[in-house]
Symmetry: C2
Subunit: 735 residues, 2 copies
C-alpha cells in the first residue's frame, strides 16, 4: 500500500527527471552541472532530490519577481505581434501577472518554454531526450490531485460538461487537451439527435432505411459546420486565435543551407520546398504499401473466416472459426506498427521546419493506415461479400487445405457452386454490431482497466526485485531511502507520477475520428449505432479524464486553435459517408434483403445514380449550412470585433489623429454672412479681369486656370451666376 | 470635327458634374452652395466652369500641403491597422507624400474618399446620385490622353503585357481594373497550352476525344490554382492584401435598430443576420423563376428551331429557320433584364451593410441568370437533343401551327415517327462553333464599333439640335460659349469625357467567366475552341483598353485584392466541366457518332461511371495541385515574411525587449571556479543541517522544501553527491 500522499505540490512548477547514465561518470557530472547552471541563469529556483535508483529529480519554481514578469510580458508581446492577442499588453513589472490573470496553464507553458526555447529566443535550449539532452528523460508538471478528484466526482454525476468545466480543464491542462474535451463534448451532445432518430427509425422502418441515410448525412454536415464554428468561438474565448502561426521550430530540422535574408539580415535556414515535395512523393509507395500489406492480411483473414463459417461443415467448426480472428488480431498490429514506423521515418525524412507541419504530415499518414485497418473489413462485407459472394465463394476452395486436417471427408471442405450458395444475411448487421458495441467495450476496458493491472503487476515485480536485492546486497540503503522524513510522501508521489506514461491526446482524438467514420460510413446498416456510441462516449469522456488524471503524467499545457488535421479527416469521412450510405441504402432497398450475393440484382446505373444524387445533395446542403452559419453572429465574435475596434481607435488617437471621428465643423452663421456679403458685390467680369491680370504675370496655363476664381467665395458666386444664366435661358426657351 | 484638344489636364484631380435642376431655383442654389462650402472645408482648391446647357463642372485639386499630407497619413495608418500595410507609416508632414511614392491611383482614391466618406470619418459625405446629392451626376478624374495613346500603341505590338505594364495600369486606374487585366493576361497566357493541345488533338484524334477532356480538366485545375496564387502575389506586390476587410459602409443600408456597443461605447447599426437569411430565402423563387422563365423561352425557341430546320420541309424554310433566332434575340434580353431588375431589388432588400457584401450577393444572382442564358442551349443539344431526339421530335407536331401558313401540304409539317427520324450530327459542333467564334466576333464588334457609331449619331443629333435652336433662339449664346478662349480645347474635352458612360469592370469580367465556362463545359465537342478563344482574347485585351481609355469615363481607382466572387463562379464551372465533359466524351465514345437520338445506345451505368470517375479524379487532382502550389515559395512572399519579421523585431526593441535575441551569457571562467571552490567544501550533511535550522524558524513545509538547498551551487553539489552514491551502488552490485 502506498503511504498517504501529501496533496500539496509545494509550489513546484516543473519536475525534470534526469537519468544518470551508468557508464560515463564524467559526462554525467558535466551534463548535470550544465543543466543546473542553465536553470540558475534563467533565475529559477531549483532543488534536487533522488529519483529512483538511477535518476535525479530537479524541482523547478519560477520566482514571482520582475524577471519572470518580464518573461511573461515578452511572451504576451509576441502573441500580440502574431495576432493571437487583440490588445497590446502593457508593460508593468509584476502587475503584468495580475492584469490578465495568469492561468496555471499559461504559467507552466511559459516556464516550459523558458527551458526549451532556443538560446536566440532567450531560452535554455533543453530538448528532452534529444542530442546533448538525451538523459533528460522528462519534464513534467505535477498533478493537482484534489482538483482531479473533484473533476472525477463531479463529472460522473453530470450528463454534460458546462463551458465552465471546459474552461477549468483548459486552465489546468492547456488548450490542446481543452479542444479534445470540447470536441468530445460537442460530439456527445450532437449524438443525441441521431441516437433518438436512429432508435425511431429502427423501430418504425428497420435497417437500411434511406430516411436514416438522409438524416445521418444532414446531421454530419450540421455537426461538422457547428464544430468548426465552435472551434473559432473557443479560440476567441480562450485567446488562442492564430496560435497556429506561432509555431516552434523543430530541433531535428536539417536545413540544406543557411542564407542571409537580404531584408532582415538574419540567417535563414533553408530547405527547398521542391525537394520536400519530391520526398513527399514517397507517400505514394507508402499508401500503396499500406493498401497491399494490410489489404492482403485483412482480405485473407476475411476469406478464411467466410470459408470456415460458411463453407466448411466438418468438425471443430466452432473452434476453427476463431482462427482467422486470432490471425487478424496478431497480424494487423504487427503490420501496422511496421507501417507506422516507416511513416514516422518518412515524415522525419520530409524534414519539416515546424512541429505543427511535422505533426500534420504524420497524422495524415496515420489516418491512412487507420482508415484501412478500421474500415476495410466492413467494406469487404458491404461491397464485396454481399453483392458478389455467390461468384467469389466457389474460389475459396483454395483454403480447403487449411482445414483439411480437421475435415472428415472432402465434401466438408468443398465450396458450393454459385447456385447452391446463399449468403449469410446477418453477417453485415452482426459486423456492425461488433464495431458499434463490442469493440467499443473492449477499447474502453483496454484504456482503463488494463493500464491499472499492468501498473499493479509492474509494482509487484519492482517490489519483489527490491526485496530480492535487499536480501542480496544486505545493508546499503537505496538512494530513495535518503529522503527527508517530512518529504517522503511527496517524493513517493512524484516518483509514481514520473513512472506514468505521457498523455497522448492524438490517440484519443483518433479514436473518436474512427468512431465518427463508422457512424457516417456504415451506420445505415444498423440504426442503433448512434445510441450505442452515445452511451459509450458518455463513459469515454469520464474514462479519458480518469486516464488523464491518474494513469498519465500531467501533460505540459500546449496551445492549439483547433483539433488540427483531424478536422480534415472528419470532413473527408463525412463526404465519403454520403457515397457509401447511398450505395448501401440502394443495395438493400428491397426491404433490407439486399442483393443476396447475386450481382445481377444490382443495376449499376441506379446504384451510381443514387450515389451521384446523394453526394451532390450532400455538397449543396453543406454549402448552404456553411453559408448560414458563417452569417450568424455570436457574443464572442462581437466582443472580438469591438476589441479590435478599440485597439484601432486607440492607435489613431495615439498617432495624434484622434480628430478623425470628429464631425466637420461648419462655418458659423456670422462667418457665412461675411462670406455672402463679401462675394455678392463681385461681378463676374471684374473677377475674370482680375484673373487675367494675374495671368499676365504668370504665363503657365495651369496657374492661370486655377487662379481665375480666387477663393471659394468667388467660385460660388461665379457658379451662381452660371446657374442664373441657365435658368434664364430655360425660361426664354419655354416662352 | 472636335477642335484640337489640350493634352494637359491642368493638374485637375477630379471633376464634379453638377446637374442644375430646372425646376427649383432656390434648391439648386442652396445645394450648389453646400457643395462648394464642403469642398472649401476640406481645404481643396476649386474652380467652377459651365458644363453643358444644364450642368456645371466643379474642378477639384488637392493642395500639396500639410493638411493633405495628414489625410494621406491617416489613410495609411488605417490601412496598417487593418493589416493592409505591413510597415507602420511614419508621420512626416509632406515627407509622407514622398516616403512611399504616392501613385496617381492612390492620390485620386484618397481625394475621392475625402469627398464621399461619412462625416464621422472626416469626409464631406457626398454620395453621387443619392439622397441630398442626387444632382451630383458624377465625380470622375480626367483621362491622361498621352499615356492612353502610348498604351494603345505599345500594347498592340506586344504578344503579352509585362508585369511593368500591369503595374503602370494599376498605378493609373487602381487595383480593381488592374486585377481584371492581370486575370485576362494570365488567362491569355494559359490559353496557349489548350490551344496547342486542342489543335493537335483535332488533327490527330478529332472531336470528342477523352484525351482532350482529361487535358482540359487538368489545365483548368492548374490555371485556377495558379491564378489564386497569382492573386495573392499581386496583393503583396500592389500592397492591397486584406483590403477586403476595409470595406466602405453602404449608404443605402437600413439598420433595424441602433444600439450602443457595451465595450466601445460606439453606436452600432444593427440588422439581424437571421432576418437577412430569411430574406435571402427569396433567392430560391428567383432561381426557380429564372429557370422557368428563361428556360421556357429558350426551350421553346430551340424546339421551334429544330422543328423548322429538321421537320418542316415546305417553302421559305431558309427564311423561317431564322424566326426562332429572332424570337430568342428579342425575348431573352427582355426576360433577363426583367430578372436582373428583380435581382437588383432583392439584393437591395437583403440590406447589406457593406458595398462588398452587396456586390457579392448581386454577382451571384447575375451569375445564375447568365448561366442559364449562356449554357442552356448547348446543354439542350448535348443532353436532350442528341440522346433523346428520336423520342422527342415526334412531339414537335404542336409547332406545325406556326408554319402552317407557309406549308403547301400537311406532309411538310408532320413530324416523322421515331424510326424515320435521324438527328443532324453537325448540330452540336455547329453550335459550339457559333459560341467559340461567331458570338465572340459579334461581342467584340458590339463592344468597340457600336459605341463609336452610337456616339457619332448622338453627336450629330446634338449638333443638329443646337443649330436648330440657334436658328430659333437667335442671338443668346449657349452657356458653353462663355468659355475662355484659352480653355476652350480643355473644356470641350472635359465635356466629351463627362458624356461618356462609366466603365464597368464587372461586365468585362463576366464575359471572360462565361467564356471560360464554354471552354471547360463543352469544348470537348470542338477542340479548336481554345485556339479561337486565344485569338479572340488577344484582341479582347486591346479592345478593352480602347473601351476603357476612349469610350468610358476614367474610373475612380478602386482597390481590390482579388477578382472577387467571380473566382467562385470559375471554380464552380471547372467542377461542372469535369462532369459534362466526361458525359459528352462517353456519349460520343463510338468514334464521335454519338447516341444518334436513340437513348438505347447509352448505358446509364457506364455514363455515370465515367462521370463519377472523372469528377473524383478532378477533385483529387485539384487537392494535389493545391497542396503543391501552397508549398512553393515566391519572392513576394519571402519579402512579406521578412517585412513582418522586421516589424515584430522593431516592436520588441521599442518595447525595451531587444535582448530577446541575445544569447544567454555564460558565467566567466573565474566565476565558475569560484563557484566550484565555494561548493566543493560543503558537506551534504552540513547543508541539510543548515536547511533544518532554517526550517525551524519557518514552519511552512513548502518553504522548508525550497530552502533545503540554498543557491544553485548547493543544489549542484547535492546532486553530484547523489550521482556519486548511485555509481558506487552500481559498482558494488556489479562486483
Amino acid at each position: 500500500m502506498p503511504p498517504k500522499v501529501l496533496q500539496d505540490n509545494l509550489d513546484v512548477d516543473l519536475v525534470v527527471k534526469y537519468k544518470v547514465p551508468g557508464k560515463d561518470k564524467n559526462a554525467a557530472i558535466q551534463q548535470f552541472q550544465g543543466l543546473i547552471r542553465r536553470f540558475a541563469q534563467l533565475n529559477l529556483e531549483i532543488e534536487v532530490r533522488a529519483g529512483d535508483d538511477s535518476s535525479l529529480f530537479i524541482f523547478i519554481k519560477a520566482k514571482n519577481d520582475e524577471a519572470f514578469a518580464d518573461v511573461i510580458y515578452r511572451s504576451r508581446i509576441r502573441d500580440w505581434l502574431h495576432g493571437v492577442r487583440q490588445i497590446q499588453p502593457i508593460k508593468e513589472t509584476v502587475g503584468t501577472l495580475i492584469e490578465a490573470p495568469l492561468t496555471e496553464a499559461e504559467r507552466l507553458r511559459i516556464i516550459y518554454e523558458m527551458l526549451t526555447a532556443q538560446h536566440m529566443d532567450g531560452g535554455a535550449g533543453i530538448t528532452p531526450k534529444y542530442g546533448d539532452w538525451k538523459n533528460v528523460e522528462a519534464i513534467f508538471p505535477l498533478h493537482n490531485h484534489e482538483r482531479n478528484k473533484k473533476w472525477l466526482a463531479e463529472w460522473s454525476k453530470k450528463s454534460f460538461l458546462t463551458p465552465d468545466d471546459l474552461d477549468e480543464l483548459r486552465n489546468a491542462m492547456g488548450e490542446k487537451v481543452g479542444y479534445y474535451y470540447a470536441f468530445l463534448q460537442s460530439y456527445l451532445q450532437f449524438l443525441m439527435f441521431p441516437a433518438a432518430f436512429g432508435f425511431s427509425v429502427k423501430v418504425l422502418l428497420g435497417n437500411f432505411s434511406p430516411v436514416y441515410m438522409i438524416g445521418i448525412g444532414m446531421w454530419s454536415v450540421i455537426f461538422l459546420e457547428y464544430w468548426k464554428r465552435q472551434e473559432k468561438e473557443l479560440s476567441v474565448r480562450w485567446g488562442v486565435k492564430n496560435v497556429g502561426t506561432l509555431e516552434s521550430k523543430r530541433r531535428e530540422f536539417r536545413p540544406e543551407h543557411v542564407q542571409k535574408d537580404p531584408i532582415t539580415g538574419e540567417d535563414m535556414a533553408i530547405f527547398p520546398a521542391k525537394k520536400r515535395l519530391q520526398r513527399q512523393l514517397l507517400q505514394i509507395p507508402l499508401a500503396i504499401g499500406c493498401a497491399i500489406a494490410l489489404g492482403l492480411v485483412i482480405c485473407t483473414c476475411y476469406a478464411i473466416e467466410v470459408f470456415i463459417s460458411e463453407v466448411y461443415s466438418g468438425p471443430l467448426k466452432s473452434v476453427l472459426v476463431f482462427s482467422p480472428t486470432i490471425l487478424l488480431v496478431t497480424a494487423v498490429p504487427t503490420v501496422s506498427s511496421f507501417l507506422n514506423k516507416y511513416a514516422e521515418q518518412l515524415t522525419q525524412f520530409e524534414n519539416y521546419e515546424t512541429q505543427g507541419a511535422h505533426d500534420q504530415a504524420m497524422i495524415s499518414k496515420v489516418f491512412i493506415i487507420n482508415f484501412i485497418t478500421s474500415y476495410l473489413a466492413m467494406s469487404l462485407t458491404s461491397f464485396v461479400y454481399v453483392p458478389f459472394a455467390s461468384i467469389l465463394v466457389p474460389y475459396l476452395d483454395i483454403f480447403s487445405l487449411t482445414v483439411k486436417p480437421f475435415a472428415e471427408d472432402e465434401k466438408q471442405t468443398r465450396a458450393p457452386t454459385s447456385a447452391q450458395f446463399s449468403i449469410n444475411p446477418q453477417r453485415l448487421p452482426n459486423q456492425m454490431f461488433y464495431f458499434a458495441v463490442t469493440a467499443q467495450l473492449i477499447s474502453l476496458a483496454t484504456e482503463t482497466i488494463v493500464p491499472i493491472l499492468q501498473r499493479k503487476g509492474e509494482d509487484k515485480i519492482a517490489s519483489m526485485k527490491s526485496s530480492a536485492s535487499k536480501r542480496n546486497g544486505g545493508a546499503h540503503p537505496s538512494v530513495a531511502s535518503s529522503d527527508h522524513a517530512e518529504e517522503t510522501g511527496f517524493l513517493t508521489r512524484v516518483r509514481e507520477e514520473a513512472s506514468l506514461p505521457d498523455y497522448d491526446v492524438t490517440a484519443d482524438l483518433r479514436e473518436m475520428v474512427i468512431q465518427f467514420g463508422y457512424l457516417v460510413l456504415f451506420s445505415v446498416v444498423w440504426p442503433l449505432t448512434p445510441v450505442s456510441y452515445f452511451i459509450n462516449n458518455w463513459f469515454e469522456l469520464r474514462s479519458d479524464t480518469f486516464k488523464l488524471t491518474t494513469q498519465s503524467r500531467r501533460p505540459i499545457p500546449d496551445r492549439a486553435d483547433s483539433i488540427g488535421p483531424w478536422l480534415n479527416c472528419i470532413e473527408f469521412l463525412a463526404w465519403l459517408g454520403s457515397i457509401t450510405s447511398a450505395a448501401l441504402a440502394y443495395m438493400f432497398s428491397d426491404g433490407g434483403l439486399g442483393p443476396d450475393g447475386r450481382p445481377s440484382k444490382i443495376k449499376l446505373g441506379f446504384l451510381l445514380l443514387s450515389v451521384f444524387f446523394s453526394e451532390h445533395t450532400f455538397l449543396i446542403f453543406r454549402n448552404v449550412v456553411r453559408h448560414v452559419i458563417s452569417k450568424l453572429d455570436s457574443d464572442n465574435m462581437r466582443k472580438e470585433r469591438s476589441e479590435r475596434f478599440m485597439v484601432r481607435r486607440k492607435f489613431l488617437q495615439d498617432a495624434g489623429l484622434g480628430d478623425v471621428v470628429k464631425p466637420l465643423t461648419s462655418p458659423t452663421d456670422s462667418a457665412l454672412k461675411a462670406m455672402d456679403t463679401g462675394s455678392s458685390g463681385l461681378d463676374r467680369r471684374s473677377l475674370e479681369e482680375d484673373a487675367r491680370n494675374d495671368s499676365l504675370r504668370d504665363s503657365n496655363s495651369t496657374t492661370r486656370f486655377w487662379n481665375r476664381q480666387r477663393g471659394w467665395q468667388e467660385t460660388e458666386s461665379v457658379g451662381l451666376r452660371l446657374i442664373d444664366m441657365m435658368e434664364n435661358e430655360g425660361e426664354r426657351k419655354t416662352k
